[in-house]
């Protein structure tokens, strides 16, 4: 089962190493990991998506909490989170295919980030599922390069971790 863990940490060198080490030691595969500072520059938020069972998650949460720089850990419930991911995708485009690709952009809400005679670079921020759909729609036009950020997430409503 895919799980989303949100971790607040002291923004210090080496912490990412410690966190990923913790996952790899238990042979948990990290699907995605996104790091960035929060409104407090001394604090970073790390959003980790992993595939694992509940009892394993409890142990991971506890182990994360043991790291000295970790301030808070919370596994976010699937239906109570807002999750977004950003994708940049460079796709082949010529005079013939460009308008078809633009239609896909309109339907998905993607924007054109860069244009060249033979390509279009598109950007889309959305849920990981919809990003995957977007990617599938573009594949017939031949994708040259693609980068996804991994999901970042917050809880819905006014609550915070």
């Amino acid at each position: 089962m895919k799980q989303t863990i949100s971790v607040l940490v002291e923004n210090q060198a080496g912490i990412l190493n410690r966190i990923t080490g913790l996952f790899s030691r238990r042979a948990f595969n990290i699907d995605s990991l996104a790091v960035g500072v929060t409104d407090d520059p001394a604090v970073s938020r790390i959003t980790i998506i992993v595939d694992s069972g509940n009892s394993e998650m409890e142990q991971v949460e506890k182990q994360l909490n043991k790291l000295i720089e970790v301030i808070k850990v919370r596994t976010l419930e699937e239906d109570k989170l807002i999750g977004r991911e950003l994708v940049l995708v460079k796709v082949n485009a010529n005079a013939k295919t460009r308008s078809d690709i633009m239609t896909i952009c309109e339907l998905t809400g993607a924007k054109v980030a860069d244009i060249s005679p033979t390509s279009l670079t598109l950007e889309l921020s959305d849920t990981p599922d919809r990003i995957s759909t977007f990617e599938a729609m573009l594949r017939p036009y031949s994708i040259q390069e693609l980068a996804r950020t991994g999901m970042i997430a917050l809880q819905k409503g006014s609550g915070k971790i």
Partner: protein, 542 residues
């Protein structure tokens, strides 16, 4: 003031009285500052791993965080086993490593290794200091983190230029306040009430006590809990010597290598109260099975231990000492009844059961029983790894003394350096080492540290000329090829080794001489090596 001087000044403020180390180029500024601090004693080890073990032995008898200091590169990597050994047994330790100049970090220059990265999986925390002004704070935090909550080793990596850097101002924080690190102390009151009710309802309760009781300095509280409720106590290997061997409530050590009736007691119990232990694989083989039959209370300071190896019906997170005190406020006297009497009967049988003997050899169990009777009440016994360890767990009788061994990592070579650490702290305390001929050869170079300090350590060496425990495992049907690569042929004549270090010694192969030989060893002045010939086929099941 330089970074090196700030380090030494901070160590003094952290009440450090002794350090174990090995110098090298990148730690020279710190060593130089230490030379000007006669308040702090210093032991030169013969290989860095043993600095960790000495710091461990030092802590385990004093309760004071052990400190070691080594150079970068090979010094730091040699120390790794010492750090991992301490981590697995939750021993608080501050390890200081020299490092190459900070502006050259990452260039793989001479004697650079990423030691903070290397020890990340088995240290509680680590620092790579990049500004000398941080040194006082880092030292204060390191001691705080190492010694509170679930204790463990903390490493401080100090580049040489940072040791030489001038500080703007020296300020050692009186209090450490880390927003992300606040270990629980008291147990939740509701959980405490549930534990009390469970104890009152239980017919066949058993306490399983581990090393966490020592770490929390709760030996007295444990004794009071057991004596007031008459609940029999089994211990893990790390909990050995919490109760005197012959205490009527002590049922011995549980686990694959433990006492038969300790395991029976746990298996037949209807309430298992685990205190400061983590029941690793060696202690309880199939935790899930046991949890089906027995209600389990688990008291530990580390929430991650609860539910990790064993599901607990009633988890209590808190300092063991605080939690037992909370329980004692609510628990009434109760009697042990038939359950206790039965266990005591079997325990007595086990402690006095006849042991095998072979002519021309010493059976270690026989020697350990006799040794136990002769030890001073508060003796410290440092035990190595292998058959010697298991024999000592089963047969060594202890009064109020301490049993020190590497339980979690099972690091061969632990016993002698640990004993040096004990002796540094408590020169008057009777200190005995028990080891095999394989483990002795892993750290016998520390006899130099013993001799240099004129220490009085009694070493019992069980010489079977094999790596006994591995030999024993290889002799089972699981390994049809039989024993291989475990002969210790080529070992030196240990009496000549002892002579070379100026240490008295005697070789023993006749059990009839055992009493007299032990008396001679224990009454001798200075260190002593008692070499006991042990038959290679003697096993821990005998």
């Amino acid at each position: 003031m330089t970074g090196a001087q700030a380090l030494v000044e901070s160590l003094k403020l952290a009440n450090v009285e002794h350090m174990f180390g090995y110098a090298g180029a990148t730690i020279c500024p710190a060593v130089d500052a230490l030379a000007n601090a006669p308040e702090i004693g210093y032991t030169l080890v013969r290989t860095e791993q043993n600095a960790g073990h000495m710091a461990s032995g030092y802590y385990r008898v004093t309760g004071k965080v052990g400190v070691c200091m080594v150079t970068s590169g090979p010094g730091a990597t040699n120390l790794i086993t010492g750090i991992a050994t301490a981590y697995m047994d939750s021993i608080p330790m501050v390890a200081i490593t020299g490092q190459v100049p900070s502006h050259l970090l990452g260039r793989d220059i001479f004697q650079e290794v990423d030691i903070t990265g290397a020890v990340a999986p088995f240290s509680k925390h680590s620092y790579l200091v990049k500004d000398a002004n941080d040194i006082p704070r880092v030292v204060a935090e390191a001691f705080h983190i190492a010694s509170t909550g679930r204790p463990g080793p903390v490493l401080i990596d100090l580049p040489i230029d940072i040791q030489e850097q001038e500080l703007k101002e020296f300020h050692y924080p009186e209090q450490v306040n880390l927003r992300s690190y606040k270990p629980s102390v008291r147990g939740n009151d509701l959980q405490i009430k549930r534990v009390v009710a469970a104890i009152e309802a239980a017919q066949r309760p058993v306490i399983c006590a581990g090393g966490g009781v020592f770490l929390s300095h709760a030996e007295q509280e444990l004794l009071e809990l057991a004596e007031r409720t008459h609940i029999p106590v089994v211990t893990t290997m790390m909990g050995l010597s919490l109760l005197p061997t012959e205490h009527p409530l002590n049922m011995g050590m549980l686990g694959a290598h433990g006492n038969v009736y300790a395991n029976k007691a746990v298996a037949k119990s209807d309430l298992l109260i685990m205190i400061g232990c983590r029941v690793a694989d060696r202690a309880i083989l199939s935790p899930a099975e046991l949890a089906k039959r027995t209600a389990i209370v688990h008291i530990d300071v580390d929430p991650a231990e609860i539910g990790k190896n064993m599901k607990a019906a009633i988890p209590v997170v808190g300092e063991v000492k605080a939690v037992i005190s909370q329980l004692l406020k609510r628990l009434e006297k109760r009697s042990g009844g038939e359950w206790l009497e039965k266990l005591q009967h079997f325990r007595r049988q086990e402690l006095t059961r006849p042991l095998p003997s072979r002519e021309g050899y010493i059976f270690p169990g026989t020697l350990l029983r006799a040794l136990g009777d002769k030890l001073r009440y508060n003796a410290a016994v440092c035990v190595d790894v292998g058959q010697n360890q298991i024999w000592a767990c089963k047969h060594l009788k202890l009064g109020g003394g301490r049993f020190l061994t590497s339980g979690g990592l099972g690091t061969m070579g632990y016993s002698l350096p640990a004993a040096v650490g004990v002796k540094v702290a408590q020169p008057e305390r009777q200190t005995v080492v028990i080891c095999g001929d394989g483990s002795f050869q892993m750290s016998m170079n520390e006899l130099a540290a013993v001799s240099a300090a004129g220490m009085d350590i009694k070493i019992v060496l069980f010489q079977n000329n094999i790596l006994g425990l591995v030999h024993q495992i290889q002799s089972t049907p699981a390994y049809p090829a039989g024993p291989f690569g475990v002969s210790l042929d080529g070992s030196p004549d240990f009496s000549v080794i002892a002579d070379a270090y100026g240490i008295q010694n005697r070789t023993l192969s006749d059990e009839a001489e055992l009493d007299e030989a032990l008396d001679e060893m224990l009454s001798s002045e200075g260190s002593y090596l008692l070499i006991c010939r042990v038959h290679p086929d003697a096993t821990t099941n005998d």
